[in-house]
Symmetry: C2
Subunit: 229 residues, 2 copies
DNA sequence: CCGTACACTGACGCCGGCGTCAGTTGGCGC
DNA sequence: GCGCCAACTGACGCCGGCGTCAGTGTACGG
C-alpha cells in the first residue's frame, strides 16, 4: 500500500515539474503549456522552436501537448491573441470633450500603459516585436489587422488634435507610423536589454518629449520658437 | 561580355579559356539566381520559401542552385550583405567642422539617401524589415551588428550635436532608437503600400520635421506640475 | 477491492524539403 | 566531325520534426 499521501499535491511535487495526476485541472495544465511555450518562443524564436522543445519545457510528453492544442501555430496564436487583448485594453480612446482630462495627459497615459504592459511581460513583447512577422500567411494577416487598428486609432486622434490646434499640420497617418515605429523600437530595446520595470516612467517621458518637440534645435523654424530651449 | 570569365578554374592555366557554354557567364547566372531568390523571399518570406521555389523562379534545375550557393541561408546572407553595404555607403558620418555643410543639411541628406535606396529596392527593403529577424541565430547576430553600427553612428552624431547645442538634452542612444524605429516603420509602410519613388522627398521632409519639432503643440515646455518621475 | 474511464505517455510511421551524384548536353578546340 | 569537359539536370535517399494511437496507471464509483 504505502501509497503516497495526497500531500503529494504541493509537497513531493518537488520532483521536477512532472505532472501529478489530478493535481492540475485541464485549464491549469493548458496554462502551464502556454507559459512554457511562451518562454520557448521568446528564447528560440518561433521558427527555431519545436513541439519537443515546448513539451520538454512543460515537463509533459509529446502526446499531451496535442490534447490541448492543435499544433505549434495554435499555441502561438493563442498567446498572441491574449497579448493583443491585453494591449488593446491598455489603450483608451482620447476624449476631446472640453470637460475631459487634458488631451496631453490622456496621450501620456496611453503611452505609459503600453510601456507598462510590455515591461511587465517581456517574453511576449519580444515575441510580438521580433518573431510575430512571417509566422505564416494567416497569422501575418491577423497581425496586420491588429497594427492597423492601433494605427487607425492614433491617426483618428491626431486628426482630432489637428482640428483642436494641438497637433501640427501634416499627414496624420504618417505621424502615426512614425510614432508607432519609434515606440516599437524603444520597447524592443528596453526588453532586449533588460531595462528595469521602473524605467517605464522615464521611457514614457522620453517618448512624450520626442513627439512633443523632437530633438533637433537648428533654425527653430520660427512659428513655435517659443520654447526652443 | 561573354568572354569575361576568368579564375573560375584555378588550376589548368595551360588550357585555353573557354567562353561560357550558354548565354550567361557564371557571374551572370549567379546574379540571376540572387535576383530570383530576392523576389521569392520578398513574396513568400524567408521561412516559407524553399529551394524549389527559388530554382523554379530562376528557371534552372535544383542541382544548379548548389553549384552557386551552399544553401538557402547562404543566398539570403549574400543578398543581405549586399544590401547592408548599399545602405552603409548611403550614409555619411556628419562633419561638424565649422567649414562643412550645415549639419542639418547633412542629416537631411542621410535620411534622403536611405529612403532613396530603400524605395529603389523595395523587395530588399521588405525582406530587411520584415523577414530578416529570426532567420537563424547566426544571421540574427549579423543583423544586430548592422543595426548596432547604425545606431552607434547616429548616437555619436547626436552626442556631438548636443555639444554644439543643436540637439536637445536627453539620452542620445534613446533618441537614436526612436529615430531609427520611426524611419523603419515609415519605410516598411512606404514599401508595402507601394508608394511612388517620387515620394522620397516628401517622406524625408516628414521625418525631418518630426525629429525637428515633433507634432504635439500642447503647453510648450512647462514640466507637468504633478509628480515628476 | 474491483472495474472503468480518463489523463497521460512515447515509440512509430509519415512527409516535406534538403543535398547529392550519376547521367546528359552542348560549346569549343582540334 | 570528334572528343572533351564544364555546366547543368532531376530522381533519389535521407532526415528532422510532426501527429497518432495503442498502451499505462491512477482516481474514483460501485
Amino acid at each position: 500500500m504505502a501509497r503516497a499521501r495526497e500531500a503529494s499535491r504541493g509537497g513531493s511535487a518537488a520532483r521536477g515539474r512532472k505532472a501529478p495526476r489530478s493535481a492540475q485541472s485541464k485549464a491549469e495544465r493548458r496554462s502551464t503549456i502556454l507559459a512554457a511555450a511562451r518562454d520557448v518562443f521568446a528564447k528560440r524564436g518561433y521558427h527555431q522552436a519545436t513541439i519537443d522543445d515546448i513539451v520538454a519545457e512543460t515537463g509533459v510528453a509529446r502526446g499531451t501537448f496535442y490534447l490541448y492544442f492543435e499544433d505549434k501555430r495554435a499555441v502561438f496564436s493563442d498567446l498572441m491573441d491574449r497579448f493583443f487583448t491585453t494591449l488593446t485594453m491598455a489603450i483608451n480612446r482620447i476624449d476631446i470633450s472640453p470637460s475631459a482630462t487634458p488631451v496631453a495627459e490622456q496621450a501620456r497615459a496611453n503611452i505609459r500603459a503600453i510601456i507598462g504592459m510590455c515591461l511587465a511581460d517581456r517574453a511576449m513583447t519580444k515575441i510580438l516585436l521580433s518573431d510575430a512577422h512571417g509566422v505564416d500567411p494567416a497569422f501575418d494577416r491577423k497581425l496586420a489587422t491588429f497594427y492597423d487598428a492601433v494605427v487607425q486609432l492614433l491617426t483618428d486622434s491626431l486628426h482630432d488634435g489637428q482640428k483642436l490646434g494641438i497637433v501640427a499640420d501634416g499627414e496624420p497617418r504618417v505621424m502615426a507610423y512614425l510614432t508607432i515605429g519609434a515606440l516599437k523600437e524603444l520597447l524592443y530595446q528596453a526588453v532586449t536589454l533588460g531595462l528595469a520595470e521602473e524605467s517605464a516612467e522615464v521611457l514614457t517621458q522620453q517618448i512624450f518629449e520626442f513627439v512633443s518637440q523632437g530633438y533637433l534645435r537648428v533654425h527653430p523654424r520660427e512659428p513655435r520658437a517659443k520654447k526652443a530651449r
